[in-house]
């Protein structure tokens, strides 16, 4: 004979909700409070390093969406390519990270930031200097453990819920 059937199940359930009522909520108030993202997040942007890029085009070949466009010219003197245009249509980008994994010279990184929505489609197409790393565009540790080490640990809960908008 199990007592769950005789009303104790209901009482147990009521106790669970009562405990939840008095304990701390587990949600966070998003725009004001932010959790630390995963150190290996594949954020909503691509970061490109002009110094390391050799213009080999491996990233463009790896991209399943064909979102990366590369225009190079040859520099005969140094026997290498000069990257004239490196253009990413982030509207097509699916944040798969294959370009980062494919790059033989570690010249492409996923971004650490996530709120990268734009008001116009043209703004989604980013070219050359717009793709460089900057304080506003930090680099994620995806496929680069040495970068991940320097980033803050991911948090799953915030300490104190703030009730009201500032």
């Amino acid at each position: 004979m199990k007592f769950e059937r005789f009303g104790t199940g209901i009482i147990k359930g009521l106790m669970v909700t009562l405990v939840h009522l008095v304990r701390h909520p587990t949600v966070n108030q998003y725009p004001e409070q932010r959790l630390n993202m995963s150190r290996r997040i594949r954020g909503n942007e691509l970061i490109w390093s002009r110094e390391r890029c050799t213009g080999c085009g491996t990233c463009a070949k790896a991209c399943p969406q064909g979102a990366i466009e590369l225009v190079t010219s040859t520099v005969f003197k140094d026997n290498k390519y000069n990257v004239e245009t490196y253009r990413v249509d982030t509207g097509y980008c699916i944040q798969c990270g294959l370009c980062v994994e494919a790059c033989p010279f570690d010249a492409v990184f996923m971004g650490y930031s996530y709120e990268r929505a734009k008001y116009r489609r043209n703004d989604l197409v980013q070219t050359n200097d717009e793709l460089l790393e900057s304080p506003a565009r930090p680099v994620s540790g995806y496929f680069h453990p040495e970068i991940a080490k320097g980033l803050p640990d991911q948090t799953l809960l915030v300490e104190k819920i703030v009730e009201k908008r500032k």
């Binding site: 199990k2 059937r5 005789f6 009303g7 909700t17 939840h20 009201k164």
Partner: protein, 360 residues
Amino acid sequence: MKGLPPDWPGGYWWHWLFFTVVLIAFVLVMVLGAIYIERRGMGRMQSRLGPNRTGPFGLLQAVADAVKVLLKENIVPAKADKIVHWLAPIIAFAPVMMIFAVVPFQDGALLADLNIGILYIVAVSSIATVGVFMAGWGSSNKYSLLGAMRNVAAVVSYEIPLVLSVIGVVLVAGSLSLNDIVLAQDIPFILFQPLGFLLFFAAGCAEINRAPFDLMEADSELVAGFHTEYSGMKFAMFYLVEYAEAIAISAIIATLFLGGWRGPLLPPWLWLIVKIVIVFFVMVWTRATLPRVRIDQLMALAWKFLFPLALINLFITAVQVLVWPDGLPWALIFLNIAVMLVLVILWSKLFRLGWGRLEV
């Protein structure tokens, strides 16, 4: 008019006007409070915060919702029965307001001290179902009609245990007037009638379509049931009815079982409000805890569980009142609680919901 002070200026009509205005204001304010308690309380029970942006601690959320709903377009379906569709919210709302006419806020402080008060409540509260059915019928929508049909079936079934458990209280108090019932409660009747309270609470929740018996307006299966086709002001009326009914049932439970306005220190009307809020909180609590029942489970619970227990409760109460006609002794409290536990366990043994669970 018993509730009328002898020096009241203007007599009957002042009394009528005063209590009508006070009751309407009371119901509206309590509904706003109830919505806040329900949304915040349920939010915390589900480990979230609930509305907290509008005003201090989200207190104005209900006001903001009301303003939003009032500004919305009033859409009536092309094939709807226009008059029925238009009348339904009003017919659902009026009886809920009428219930409060007989709830005493203090000794004699009520709109009408009817000597058949509780019978009046039972009669009037059933009319709200007509409004709900009109809404379902007039909307020309199969889900609305289905929800309304379920509502009618549920209310017809749950009215019986509801009334039978009320009779127990009436027997102990010896009066149908709510004012006299409160005056008779030197010990709150929840102690003399624990089983009756349980039955009344369950049947009351089903009567006003609150979870876990809210399958007549189950948003996930019936897209909100009878008020699917309502928008704007008329939807606001139904929303108001939903919470006003919850407040009304809470007020009736507080009056019948918890001693109404009686209590130490605080003024009587405040005691009544405190008790209403407590009962309403228990409703929110059960809503946040229990999953919704199926329609066959709903009917089975009414007819196989609540109805026989209500009859037995009535019988036991009648015997007790016959044996001790001058007032029930203290010791009966323990006996009645023991009887309640035995009966609930016994009936749970006989009664299985859905036959779906195997005992291992």
